[in-house]
Every structure is written in C-alpha cells, then in structure tokens.
Symmetry: C2
Subunit: 475 residues, 2 copies
C-alpha cells in the first residue's frame, strides 16, 4: 500500500507534505491514472496521521484536478495523459547585467546635458517625508480606496488654485485629470479624440511626443516651425486634426510663441468642432523674466485647447505625476467612457502632493529652484561665452526661459560626429538636428544645452569638456 | 504722453506692473497697432523709474509679441487685429458637486459586497511610514532619476524572489515589467502583441478586462466556461489569438482550473507562435487551504504565458502597482520598442515596496490578512447558512480561495430587481449575470459576495440586510 514517511514533518504543513508526495507520484507516473487511492481512514492510520490531514491533502489534490472522487467509492487518480512532466525548476539566475540598466541614465556621462536631471540636494526630502508621515498618520479612508478616475479631489483643487494664482488660468477642478506622466495622458487623449485623427507635431520638436502617439497607432504629421512657432499654412496641407504645441517655450529652439501666432492657431482650430490644440507647458515654471506668457487655454473661449503640464520638471521625473485640463466636451466624454478606470497615480502620492502645494511648499520650492537654475545658467553661459580658448567659435542663443538653451558652434564636424566625440570625453549632448524630422530643414552645429543636471561644483568640468570638442574641431 | 502711476509699486515687480499696464492698453485698443512707444530713456524719466524697468517690460512684451522693435527706431505696437479681447476672468467657481464624486465608491452603501475594499485598520500604516522615511533619508540618486522602463531593479528583484518563494515560479527580474495597475499593463500588452489580434475573455468574467481591451481598440470574443474553466473548443471557432484567464480562482465563479484544462489550453497556445495566454492571478495570495495551484506560467516551457499580478488586493487598490512577467520574445520586443517610456509608478513607491517585500513585511502582512479574511468569511458564511429565518432559502457555493464566494438564492425576483431591492436597504451586491456577456448562459439568482470590505463589527448588519431581501422575496 501507498506510504510516505511522515515522521519528520511537523504541525500544519503535514497535509501539504502529503499533498506534494502524492502529486509527485502522479506526475512521475508512479501512480497511474484511474488508480484508486486508499480510503482516508486507512491511509491516515497507516501513515500515523489524523484523518483531517489526509482529507485536506485529498481535497487540495481534487481541487487542482490531480485526483477526482466518485461518490461512496473514494478517490481516483485523474487522467493526465498529455502531461509532459515539469522540468526541474532552475534556481533564480545569479546576478547579471540588468536588461534595463542603461535605461536609468545613471553614470553614463561625466556631464549629462541631455536628460532632465534633478540633483538630490535640490529636492526637499525632509518636507516630503514630514508630509508623508502626516498623511499616513491621518489614515484617511480615501487613502486606501480606489481613487476617482480623474484623481483625488484635494489634488485637483490644489492644482486648480495653483493654475489660478500662478498661471492666471481659471479652471474648475472638475476639468482636471491626473495621470502618471504626460506619456500616459497622451494615450488617454488618443482614446478620447479617436485613433483615426491626424496629429500634428512641431518639427523640430520633442521626438518622444510623436513616438508615443505613433505607438498609440495614430498618424502623426510633422509641421515645420518658423521664427514664431508652428506654421499655420502647413496644417491644412497635411490634413491635421489635432496639434501638439509647446508655445510658452518651444522645445528645443526656445521660441516663445507671440500672441499673433497663438490667435492664428486658435482660428485654425475653430474651423472645425473636432479640432484641438494640446498646449504642453512642460517647463513654464522656469521663466526668469516676468510672468509667463498668457496661455492658449486662457485665450480660448470655445473649448478647443487641452492644457497639459507635469511635475517632472519642478519636482523630479521620477514622480510620474502630470495633469491635463480638458475642455467641457472632452471632459464629458471622459466621464462617460473612461471614468470606470482608476487613476494611475497612487493615492498616497496624490495626498502628499496636494498638501505640498496647498501649504505653499511647492511655490517656495519652484522659487528656490528658479534661483538655483538661473545662477547655474548665468555662470555657465558667462564661462562658455568668455572662454578665452573657444569662446570665439560659439554663439549662444538664449531665451529667458526653460531649462535649456542653444549654442551655435563653428565646427568641421557633422552633428553625429560631434555627439560621438563629446561622448568619448564623457559629455552627453544632443544637436538640434536630433530633434528634427526633416533634418535638412534645420541648421547644423547647434547644440542643445540642458543644464538641469549641472551642479555648482561641476560647471567648470562642463565648460572644459565642451572646450575639448569645440577647440579641437573648430572651422 | 503715455503714463502710468508707478509710485504704489515696489521693488522687482515694477517692470511687471508696467508690462501689465501697457498690455492692457494694447488689448483694450487704447494703444493702437503700429503706434510708436516712448523711448526707454524718456519713458523711464517720465514714470520716475529706472531704464532697466522699462527695458524689462518692453522685452517681455516683445517676447510675447505684443510689441516689436525696429532697429534704431524703437518699439511699436504689434498688429493684433484678430484679437477678440479676453473676457474678464471668472473667479474659480464655488465648491460644487464633484464630477467624480460617485467614482470613489465612498459611502454609497451601508454594506458594500461589490467592491474590493481594504479597511484602514488593516493596513500597516506605521511600517509604510517608517520605510518611506528610511528611503527618503537615504537620498539615493535613483530616487529622483527617471526610472528604467520596467521598474527599478530592487523592486523587480524583490518580486522575483517573492514569486520563487511563494508561487514556486522561477522568473528572472529581467522579465518583469512594473506598471501602475493591471489596466495600464493591458494597454502595454496590446501594443506589444498588436492591435489586430483577437482577445478571448472568460464569460462570465471580470467585465473590466474586455472593456479595457475594447477601449484599446482590439476585438474581444467571449468564451463560455464550463465546470473546469474556459472551453477550449470555442477558441478556434472564434479565431482567438490571445486568452485572458483567471485560472487560480476564476472570477466570479471561483473555479480553480484543474491541471488537465491548463494543459489543453497550453496545447492550444502552442499551435501558433503568436498565441499567448495572459494568466491573471489577481487574488492568488488568498488561498485558505494549502499552497496555490501550479501556475500555467510554471508549466509552460515555450514562452506562451504572460503572468500578471497586482498589489491591489494584498495592499490596497489605491496603490496602483501591478507587474507582469513576459516571455523572452515579448520582453525583447518590449525592450526594443517601448523601453524609451518611463515606468509609470513613482520611484519612491517602488523603493518603499521593494523594502516592504525584502524585509519580510509583505509576507507577514499577507499572512495576517489571510487570517483576518478567513475569520470574516467563516463567521459570515456560518451566520448566513445557519440563519433561522432565511438560511433555508440559500445555498452557499464556496471555494477555499479568494475574497469572494457565491450564494444561490431562492427568489421570485429577477437579478436586476434583486440588486435594486438590496440597494434600497443599503446593501451593495452584484449577481453572476452581471458578469456574463451571454446572460442566458448563466444561472439566475446567484449573488457574488465580495467580503473584503466587511469588518468584524458589521457582519451582523450584512447578514441582516441580506435577510431583508431574501426572506421577503423567497420563492
């Protein structure tokens, strides 16, 4: 008769041990399909365990289909003819190169002038920690419940107040949708406006936008910009329905779109009920002179502008909190068709951020960062411009806004080579042509300097590394 | 000559005030397009301010396109003929009914047996707070940098170890992708496998799955289940390519798919390179007897199973952290085509959760919750079954798993009426038919009891409310 050593097994895991022994024998073929198993009572007696133990093991095997019971007869081994037998589990592999390693942008460059980086000494960790503790200790019921689809009310209200006070935008919190990052929100917009629409993006522009849109299976057309921003005449030629714009600080050229072009684009949108402008204010908080330009969203009175912004630049990209302000029509559609989905940002983060804004920390943080960034920018620009060895080969094209500016370089190198040479000395840069769809349309030798990751203590290093490529290869 | 009162304005906001005054006059038409503005020096003298103040105001107006400069001549008001003039900003509206209010599922029912609810006394707030403080005080660089697309390495490794120890799954952390909620991950899967594929979902089943898939513009077919789970013969008839399954605890019937059906479904998937099974283990942690069933992912040796799980059930739905384990082929495709996107879960939450798992808190929390849920379930089932007034009109259909079970009720009411009557007494319930696409295929009068939101102190209330509808309308 079937038997297993049970004496070394203790306590509640007894039935589990028995379950495993029997299962093993079924899988190995030792117990054949159709074979009758011993009755619970006899088996228990034989093994020296309680009937309950056998009962539990049998019922577990039965629930998984390894055995079946016939009324008043007992348990039988199930038919598992197709079973190929599990291979031995291989142990979890040893530490090895992480597939995503280079994706975290860590330590790739000595000086990184490509990515948006927030140095940790600039982040208000202790405030964030304090607010998190407060939120957790208040143990609000809402902290654990699935959040409303658009985000928790407190955060939407905080954002509404912030937009009113600092952007002059009058936006009811009812029109705000919070999501985990701008990339995610673009996906929502595609679902809201329809996958059959044609999206127009700026050329040059932030390449990720068109990539994300295309990954959402919509068609993108690239519209040239002139000195005022996106060219209106190109829109109809390319049958655009929806425009993505960075009017307050065009990426990467830095153009601030003048009021006239804003009005022209709005007029274009007003020509059809279904045309929309996505106004992306990804870095409007970093304007060094005066209040930011009046937004398209504020000028628009007919509900054709979708305002979108992020906390990635002001807090850190790792926070994954963005928001958009939808026109009434789109908001209705959102509530009707998509509010069954949960908000993607964890409630805890939403509560903490709401407090951070409401209690004035956010404003203070931005003001502080603005001073820091302006200081770095000014020192960096001055050091490059006045550099005795290579200052004469460059021309700095700067606006009073954003976290990047452009340098026109006199060089013999093609842009691709320039980047490669820079990389070889540990300097990460991109050129204007990297952000252009129609490469021929943009000037060569224009470097984008994203200085968010430069610290006071490595300005000199950055200036030096730039020099290594400019001086050596100047024309 | 143009003049504005400047004496009441102080400090750095002087130029901003001047900027606003001039802008207002341009917008109102008081300053006409083409009109020449006073020279900086004269204007400054006249206003009693510094030249810098006028200069800043002019340059701001120029950067926004309200005025333009002509070399050696001065500044002129721009042409803004199309400008319709901004309406007066209406103040932020008074507090009103929030558009998402009913979306947060708060206070709708006295007893809610529909939604997955975690009561706050069950959440380890102080541990979470402690770990958050630790993570923030360590100020790791990685906390602020954009995370790798699949999630931070520490969390992927913690999940890998967890899956090995508690689900017997051998999964390298390289195959794990973390995202903000299962709903989000479905969207990723659609992009990975192609929008032209046909998805098969269980009928009855978790209705949100097909809704999310359809919102991602893929075709869904509904496959009937029998007593063992999804019927294999239906799959080819409906040209399915990809299956969504809940084999360890079918929602809502609770069926645990026996090994044989698992093998049959795997065989089906093996017939074509591009067929996949999404194994959704949404509540596998709550199994009350023995270890969970061997997963399809573990049986599969050819890379046709995508494993997906969430922390929504074990922590709280508001945490929005889910993960999936991709077969190598899909992981390669993910890295090639989608790793440019940031992980949607905030890094802070990822670090804290990684610590929570690694330091054993997660296991302890699940064990604790399992005991709590089992206690509630047993007390609730016993109280309902033995209820002297309505116990005889019901039949409890329970499995040893998950956070819900079914009750077959003898009643004269149609399911819709039953739900309505329950709602009128403050009881939230759903019937099996609510989760069926083909309503005719499922039995009537089967109530799903999701007891996650019941507390020790309101079991009696829940039993009583159930009684109010069962007793009154029994057949």
């Amino acid at each position: 008769m079937l038997t297993y050593p049970m004496n070394s097994v203790k306590g509640t895991s007894m039935y589990d041990h028995l379950y495993k022994c029997i299962k093993e024998d079924i899988l190995s073929g030792k117990l054949e399909s159709g074979e009758k198993l011993p009755s619970k009572r006899t088996f228990a007696k034989n093994l020296g365990v309680s009937v309950i133990t056998v009962e539990n093991a049998y019922s577990l095997l039965a629930s998984e289909g390894y055995i079946y019971s016939e009324e008043k007869k007992g348990y039988y081994v199930a038919k598992l003819d197709k079973w190929i037998g599990p291979e031995k589990n291989t142990p979890v592999p040893e530490e090895k190169k992480d597939i995503f390693e280079n994706n975290g942008q860590i330590n790739k460059y000595k000086v990184d002038l490509i990515n948006n980086i927030v140095n940790y000494e600039r982040f208000p960790f202790s405030t964030w920690s304090k607010l998190t503790r407060q939120v957790l200790s208040e143990q609000d019921e809402g902290l654990l419940r699935a959040a409303p689809s658009g985000g928790i009310a407190q955060l939407r209200e905080s954002i509404s107040e912030y937009l009113y006070n600092y952007r002059g935008l009058t936006v009811s919190s009812d029109r705000i949708v919070i999501g985990s990052g701008t990339e995610y929100l673009y996906g929502i917009l595609v679902k809201l406006t329809g996958r059959d629409r044609i999206y127009a993006v700026e050329d040059p522009g932030y390449y990720k936008v068109s990539r994300i849109l295309e990954d959402n299976d919509v068609r993108c057309v690239h519209i040239a910009i002139d000195e005022y921003g996106m060219r209106v005449d190109e829109l109809d030629k390319k049958n655009a329905d929806i425009i993505h714009l960075t009017p307050s600080h065009h990426f990467p050229t830095g153009i601030v779109m003048p009021i006239q072009r804003r009005l022209e684009l709005l007029d274009w949108a007003y020509e059809s009920e279904d045309r929309y402008i996505i106004e992306d204010e990804y870095d409007c908080e970093f304007r060094y002179l005066g209040k930011p330009v009046q937004t398209l969203s504020d000028i628009d009175r007919r509900g054709h502008v979708i305002y979108i912004n992020t906390f990635s630049k002001t807090l850190a990209p790792s926070f994954r909190i963005s928001y958009m302000v939808l026109p009434d029509r789109l908001m209705e559609r959102y509530v009707d068709t998509m509010s069954y989905m949960s908000c993607t940002v964890p409630n805890l983060d939403q509560y903490v951020l709401a407090k951070f804004i409401k209690e004035g920390y956010y404003e203070r943080h931005i003001n502080r960062m603005r001073v820091i960034y302006r200081g770095i920018r000014n020192r960096f620009v001055t050091a490059v411009r006045n550099n005795s060895t290579y200052g004469k080969y460059i021309n700095i094209m700067e606006e009073n806004a954003g976290l990047h500016f452009l340098i026109k370089v006199q060089t013999l190198l093609e842009d691709k080579e320039l980047i490669k040479k820079a990389e070889s000395v540990g300097l990460g840069i991109r050129c204007l042509s990297d952000y252009a769809y129609d490469k021929a349309s943009v000037s060569k030798h224009i470097i984008i300097i994203n200085y968010s990751g430069i610290r006071e203590d490595n300005i000199d290093e950055a200036v030096g590394l730039l020099g290594e490529i400019i001086e050596k290869f100047h024309s």
